[in-house]
Symmetry: C2
Subunit: 431 residues, 2 copies
């Protein structure tokens, strides 16, 4: 059962009790992500996430690390394009500690100047590690490419240049602006009691220096669409509308081809899930069967969709031998177009329904995925959908809805990102 | 509660019922891994693992894929150095299907010649993908280096050369030799009943063509130690005893430094777990604190230990900027030597006890980790240790045992593997 409480100051607490479990996962969500950064501060949201582990007015970095390690808990954080989440998985008896430490990190960050310099080095190493992963690079470059000048297109972690440039003061300003009670959402799932969680969060907030005025309403997402977002029209000649080729001396070519897609709240998002399952969501999907099973051209091949508050994108990924890259791109695009033209037979549609429904039910046993569902319900969708309703929405997606969505996507200009041993001016085609 | 039954023919079934869960993870384990391959067939165990998904005498590859996809199940397989495991996570109502499909794959593989050629391409792409991941490369090269000519040192997947060379017949011979009833172990954890699992496995085996003579005893591991294994003595001059440098135009240097270590059944393996937690097992560990928190030299830094039936290795990993690689190697080795010289204070020891104990208890809620514990108990340790006993063994590890083990490791010749933008004859030191 899911319960929701708004505490004084506007802090929202959502919990889901899972009887019989001895563990809980708790997340402290802040509704700010890389898209909310202004020019010159790119990467500061992620930088701040790192710094919250470096100490508070009450705790050193070592205190934070030992608090979780001594009980075998897992704690970490993730910075997204529209939110940041600090989380921990612990035994139920350690939940009071987890609430207190996470709350202290979020409300009382020290942001020491020396720590900023040390952590700058760590983040530069993280960026370098990601840059050494060609699959990571192709996804980042595809997002930049397909969203053009939109702030959602930027890489979450910033770039080495922006990380070297960002100052302690602008990170502190970012913290002061966004980390406030009306922007905080706490979600918990596992062996927990809602009233007790609210009590723990209230106690920890009372120890913080945060303003907890009773009349604050929770923050919604601000409208931060970039007015300069570049509108594009489809190319007619078979070249991708946007193309980026990154030359790397890798064994494989890594490619992503795709288009803009649905916002997170689009009612067609259930049709998108089905489309994604059919096209590239499992071993029986069309991309897997056609490109891997029938032709042996790739080990990893799949489709994906990401939706945000005012934009989104959809892509097809493959890693393949460089000599066959044109063939693989053509096969992937052909599968999207075939789905748009011919739709999906009933049997395949029902398989996709079953795949999504089974996956949803299997996910119920994991405290982390439930904690995450609660956070996204609050921050992204603005509504919590019970399991029965979610299953209904999946099962009510029709073949025609999938075909129409595929046709919509296939009619948009295609962007293509390629990482591999190619000249950066090598031509590529998508038809 | 864990129950174990030996079915006619020697097939072993182990199950652990987790009341209240609606899902189950089931694994079919075969006690054969890459170490068991003979020269000229390297990579054939992993090749075979791929081919088992390509179809049986009763099912096509698409039948296998759709069986799991239509219920939202997850199925996959993993080839190790000493065992291979085919597994699936499904809702309890789908367990009969999962048993039947996995059993059919393991007992009735078609090994079609055309499928072998297609899958050869897929595996070459998998190897290419791994080769494009410098962290993967440094771990593979370290294992080769530290174990010398020992068959455990070889990469599990083979090399592009051995994969191109291996023929359908030698894969089929490998299958016929190792995939037999006395070598099969089935483990299940979740919402299951032991007697029902035994019934399902028996029914599926009866449909197979396998010999199920009642007088077969389960296979133990054969003695396959390489008599030509190279014995080495420590170098005296500060150069690592063995060194490999792989030149790659990466942003980061990836390094692993380490030694041979304990076999899987060594009674000191609990001390090794504690040593590993203290040195490089979490955010409060010495490597993390010294190299990441204090100096900002790395994003990813940790220690690891792998034990097998007759050998094992222990290593320290970091990814860092190439200009600081010598400093990072020196810092890592200094931490190992400091632990060997000064041991571990009581408070830090107790933190490590708590970390391992908490992690063990948290892992109990995951059907996959319980399924895996059962398989390893049967195939690796030859005994199943209940949770209370496992916790006791962890908590009884003393500071002196950890120090003595660190001293043992620090006295062995150190091997060093480096991947990054370095000449392959660049000198490296470990002291």
């Amino acid at each position: 059962m899911v319960r929701r409480t708004v505490l004084p100051g506007g802090v929202r607490v959502l919990s889901e009790a899972m009887p019989g479990l001895r563990s809980a996962t708790i997340g402290f969500w802040v509704g700010v992500g890389s898209r909310d950064e202004t020019t010159g501060h790119h990467g500061s949201t992620h930088f701040l996430e790192h710094l919250l582990f470096k100490g508070t007015t009450r705790r050193s970095a070592m205190d934070i690390a030992t608090a979780f390690d001594r009980v075998g808990g897992e704690s970490n954080a993730v910075t997204g394009k529209e939110h940041t989440c600090y989380y921990a998985r612990v035994l139920d008896e350690d939940l009071p500690m987890a609430v207190d430490v996470l709350c202290d990190m979020v409300t009382g960050a020290r942001l020491d100047a020396g720590d900023v310099e040390n952590e700058r080095g760590v983040i530069l190493e993280e960026l370098a590690m990601n840059d050494d992963d060609p699959a990571d690079v192709v996804h980042e470059r595809f997002a930049e490419l397909v969203l053009g000048q939109h702030p959602l297109g930027r890489p979450i972690g910033g770039t080495p240049e922006t990380i070297r440039a960002v100052g302690r003061d602008s990170i502190a300003a970012h913290y002061a602006e966004h980390y406030q009670a009306p922007g905080l959402v706490v979600t918990v799932a596992g062996g927990v009691d809602h009233d007790r969680v609210c009590e723990l969060v209230s106690e920890s907030l009372a120890r913080s220096g945060w303003k907890l005025d009773a009349d604050h309403a929770p923050y919604g997402r601000r409208d931060v669409s970039d007015p300069e977002r570049e509108e594009v029209s489809p190319a007619e000649d078979g070249t991708p509308h946007r193309l980026v080729v990154v030359n790397r001396s890798t064994e494989q070519a890594n490619v992503v081809v795709g288009t803009t897609s649905l916002v997170a709240t689009d009612p067609r998002r259930y049709a998108m899930s089905v489309l994604n399952a059919v096209l590239g969501g499992g071993m029986s999907s069309r991309l897997f069967q056609e490109i891997r099973e029938q032709r042996g051209l790739a080990y990893s091949v799949y489709s994906f969709a990401s939706g945000y508050s005012d934009s989104g994108y959809f892509g097809l990924y493959a890693g393949c031998t460089p000599a066959r890259v044109d063939e693989v791109i053509a096969l992937m695009v052909a599968e999207l177009r075939r789905l748009a033209a011919d739709g999906v037979p009933e049997e395949e549609l029902h398989r996709a329904h079953g795949q999504l429904a089974g996956g949803l039910v299997l996910g119920l046993e994991d405290t982390g995925s439930r904690m995450s569902r609660l956070g996204k319900a609050e921050l992204v969708h603005g509504e919590y959908l019970g399991m029965d309703k979610a299953l209904d929405r999946i099962r009510s997606v029709t073949a025609e809805e999938v075909r129409a969505l595929a046709a919509d996507l296939a009619s948009r200009p295609l962007s293509l990102a390629v990482v591999g041993p190619f000249d950066e001016d090598r031509p590529f085609r998508v038809s």
